[in-house]
């Protein structure tokens, strides 16, 4: 079995022999496990090793890619030739090509992307975790009568990258996720709750009991929820939902969207785009972070980039191509053929969530959103939502069946409170936040 890096190097050689002027290739081997429990039964058990090669070839700066799980030598060679041929149909591009040789990661500190306990833990114990999660969530409250299942999933991966400049590197990573989705009975109605958490290791994973209690509380707390009145008011996003808002914001600082006119932030570097509470960072080197890696998918060293500082837009996030196109330098955000976040987060504030709610005279506290309507061209934001009314600084009755709407620009400007509850349990994370005013549409 050749070393993973050797596989990547061989694919680069195939591409160069087929006529590419530059090439890079990655080889990923991922060992995946998942199990699901429902009621007292293990209902799913999945275990596999996934292998894949991705290749980028350049010809006159024009790019073509190959992504394949068929590693049989003759067919791999044929598809590599086909990719080189496809690049001939792509327009020549002065900005296309590999990163400059000086930009590659050379060495890096220990980033704790891999934990040995993920492979070492026996499958029986992982199955027992899923069964425990399911049992605890059902026992937490008598009104919980069913569930969509409790799941434990993990993966360990090796990512190896090589290119025609001679760069070669690899790193290992691991990830564990636990989630559960109980359903509470509310007369004839069903009230779902769901919650999950992820980490680099079983040791660092949020305790099963805590995950179960949070999910159960979500389901039970929404019993009796009704539509609120249509109004303009303060909206508090709990940290899970605030993280989704930050994901929408990421699309607007993605340099690819900026370059093709799909971002409302084009030409706004140096401008105030949010309140002074808005400081947003992308950090590829955060130890233990789920978005951490020593180098991005082009081999460029990752780093910490302040994207918004005290409300002022500092930079977009770039890969090599869009950096060249927009006259900037890569920020180490190349990801799977596009631009992606490393650990992208909103800096936490000093106060607790309780204090934030207590300082809110009236408004809504949003715990879940559905839909995905944000347009990065205009920043228009609109989502279905669930949560609670806030009255006189206290959480009031549960509400659902409403939408919240606004615009990401005005929302960032109206960001007037940030809590201290930031947890790095996903690649994009935010603490609980309050937007001074948005439109709530109900009855």
């Amino acid at each position: 079995m050749p070393d993973e890096v050797d596989v990547a190097r061989e694919v680069v050689e195939l591409a160069m022999r087929a006529g590419a002027t530059q090439a890079d290739a990655s080889y990923t081997v991922s060992d995946r496990f998942s199990t699901e429990a429902r009621a007292a039964e293990v209902v799913k058990l999945e275990q596999s090793v996934a292998r894949g090669v991705t290749l980028r070839v350049f010809d006159r700066g024009a790019k073509a890619t190959l992504s394949t799980s068929d590693l049989a030598p003759e067919r791999l060679r044929a598809f590599v030739r086909e990719a080189v041929d496809a690049a001939r149909f792509v327009a020549a591009d002065p900005h296309g090509g590999l990163p400059e040789p000086g930009g590659f990661a050379v060495d890096w500190p220990e980033l704790a992307t891999y934990a040995g306990d993920v492979r070492a833990r026996p499958a029986e114990e992982k199955i027992a975790d899923a069964l425990t999660l399911e049992a605890v969530v059902r026992d937490t409250d008598s009104r919980i009568f069913n569930s969509s299942g409790s799941r434990i999933a993990d993966a360990t991966s090796t990512f190896a990258l090589a290119n025609s400049y001679g760069f070669a590197g690899s790193y290992r990573s691991s990830q564990v996720a636990a989630s559960t989705a109980p359903i509470a009975r509310d007369g004839d109605d069903k009230r779902p709750g769901s919650y999950g958490s992820a980490a680099r290791s079983y040791a660092a994973l949020e305790p099963i009991g805590s995950i179960a209690r949070k999910a159960a509380r979500k389901a039970v707390a929404s019993i009796g929820a009704r539509k609120p009145a249509t109004m303009r008011c303060a909206v508090v996003f709990d940290r899970d939902v605030a993280s989704l808002v930050l994901s929408d914001f990421f699309a607007a600082v993605n340099a690819a969207n900026v370059a093709i006119g799909n971002s409302f932030l084009a030409n706004r570097i140096g401008d105030r785009i949010g309140s002074d509470l808005a400081t947003i960072v992308d950090d590829g080197r955060l130890p233990n972070g789920l978005g951490t890696s020593p180098f991005d998918s082009e081999g460029v060293a990752t780093r910490r980039t302040v994207v918004v500082a005290g409300g002022v837009l500092q930079t977009f996030l770039y890969d090599t191509y869009y950096a060249r196109r927009l006259g900037a330098a890569s920020t180490g955000n190349a990801s799977g053929g596009g631009i992606g976040p490393n650990n992208f987060y909103l800096l936490p504030g000093a106060g607790t969530v309780e204090a934030l709610v207590a300082s809110t005279a009236s408004g809504v506290f949003v715990t879940d959103t559905i839909g995905f309507a944000t347009e990065s061209v205009t920043g228009t934001y609109s989502r279905g939502a669930r949560g609670f009314l806030i009255e006189n600084g206290e959480l009031g009755r549960p509400i659902d069946g409403f939408t919240i709407a606004g615009n990401l620009v005005s929302m960032l400007g109206a960001l007037d409170a940030v809590a201290d509850d930031l947890v790095f349990d996903q690649g994009i994370v935010a603490p609980t936040i309050r937007i001074a005013e948005m439109t709530v549409s109900g009855t």
Binding site: A83, F89, P192
Partner: protein, 468 residues
């Protein structure tokens, strides 16, 4: 490449162990695509998905493992891992027998050899160039045209422990064009089309047509005003309005949710769940549509299913495992994203047949409300039935006439509640442009949707403009 019958027999015999049932899904899928950005062909891409997934079912339990290595040794190992969940019971010594070769599914995809082999890349790049020129020429406000053309050919074979061995060869072509128009605001418009058919499709539906439609929507949206907020009458336009059926009803009728009792439609077959104007079909047999399956990913032929008939719930969409646990038959709804996933009960092409009203009558009946021409997508929460869908193009209706175009908003409703509020159904039903993809449990599959013009008595519209 594809393992032969005797290999599958040995692999399935190993997999079955003490399970009730085992199957193997072989896939070889090649996707070729080009992307145009800012007037230039920006990227070419080839994707290859090759492997075998093996599943062992034992009552409610299912074990799954896959391998991208097609050697018999690797497949036997994979079978052993898949069977772990079914071990413990008394192992039956039972051999699986298959026909010597797979039976080819009856094609529903146009040409017997779906993809023309001549000068492929040149043809695809030419489609993109034509879309670009037509999009820019459509209106002086068009600032950007981005487009993608993709051709996929998926060869599958399904072998089962009860002796089924079938194959299917599925083409999928897709052209998607996005335009951005610079007007009062920057407006985006998207249009896509294609289907499970040959590239010849674009001789009938030209790339220019697709691009002009995207440009038209972008220009409309560049004049759009803020959508009002609150409950109001909503008319849902023919075609892509079918997203409403997909979200509000379709997902809730998938067999897994109903077997587990987690859907709000669980145990309600025969009950009234919608206005009697509402009939909903799901059909895997419509030639050339995105959601069409000659056989599903468990080897069951696609069916025409009556989900709701004049407001009464008639049945669920089933895969084999859920059908067997519920004492029903599989409706050819077992679908999966690739060999790396277990099948789930999924929709194919979901639509509503024509009613009696004309488009003009429906719009004229609304004093103040919203006309939702098309949707960018939707999402539903299965247990409570709350769904949202996102406006891609819409207008205010004032005194029975369409007036100002509206900027992107979500509409939120509850499945049965919304279906009970259907007060008019048009006679202008059609399927939407063929570019919808449905996500469930992390798996994405192509689907079709369709509907005539429909009026809903009251829906919560999630704009940012508060009236009065």
């Amino acid at each position: 490449m594809r393992p032969d019958a005797s290999t599958f027999e040995r692999v399935l015999t190993r997999a079955l162990g003490s399970g009730d049932y085992a199957d193997a899904f072989y896939e070889y899928k090649v996707t070729r695509s080009f992307r145009l950005q800012d007037g230039r062909v920006h990227e070419g891409a080839i994707g290859v998905s090759c492997g075998v997934g093996i599943r062992v079912v034992s009552g409610e339990r299912a074990g799954y493992a896959y391998s991208d290595d097609l050697s018999e040794g690797a497949l036997l190992d994979t079978a052993r891992v898949a069977a772990l969940i079914a071990t413990g019971g008394g192992a039956r010594v039972e051999s699986v027998h298959l026909p010597a070769g797979p039976e080819a599914a009856i094609g529903l995809y146009g040409d017997p050899e779906p993809l023309r082999l001549r000068a492929e890349s040149a043809t695809y790049v030419d489609f993109l160039a034509r879309a670009d020129v037509a999009g820019r020429a459509a209106d002086s406000r068009i600032a950007t045209v981005n487009a993608t053309f993709a051709v996929e050919l998926q060869d599958v074979a399904i072998a089962t422990s009860d002796g089924r061995f079938v194959s299917d060869r599925r083409p999928l072509v897709t052209l998607g064009v996005q335009c951005v128009a610079a007007g009062k605001v920057r407006g985006t418009g998207f249009c896509g089309d294609g289907g499970r058919t040959s590239v010849d499709f674009f001789e009938r539906r030209s790339p220019e047509d697709v691009a002009r439609e995207a440009a038209r929507i972008a220009c409309v949206n560049s004049d759009a005003v803020e959508t009002p907020a609150g409950e109001m009458e909503v008319v849902v336009g023919a075609g892509s309005g079918g997203v409403l059926l997909h979200e509000a009803v379709g997902h809730g009728l998938e067999g897994d949710f109903n077997r587990q009792g987690t859907s709000l439609y669980s145990g309600r077959v025969g009950e009234r769940v919608a206005s009697e104007l509402v009939t909903i079909f799901d059909d895997g047999n419509l030639p050339g549509e995105r959601g069409t399956v000659a056989v599903d990913d468990e080897g069951t032929p696609g069916e025409h299913k009556v989900l709701v008939e004049r407001g009464v719930l008639r049945g669920y969409m089933q895969d084999r495992q859920n059908a067997s646990l519920m004492g029903a038959h599989s409706t050819g709804s077992g679908r999966r994203q690739s060999f790396r996933f277990m099948p789930q009960p999924r929709m194919c092409n979901t639509y509503m047949p024509d009613g009696d009203s004309t488009y003009d009558e429906i719009v004229a009946s609304v004093r103040r409300g919203i006309f939702a021409t098309s949707f960018a997508g939707g999402q539903v929460e299965i247990s409570k039935g709350d769904f949202v869908f996102m406006l891609a193009e819409g207008y205010l209706i004032e005194n029975g006439k369409l007036t100002a175009p509206l900027r992107g908003a979500s509409l939120i409703g509850n499945g049965p509640d919304a279906m009970n509020r259907v007060t008019m159904v048009g006679n202008d039903g059609r399927l939407a442009g063929r570019y919808y993809t449905c996500g469930k449990g992390g798996q994405y599959v192509p689907v079709g949707v369709g509907m005539p013009t429909v009026k809903l008595a009251s829906v919560t519209v999630g704009g940012s403009g508060v009236a009065g």
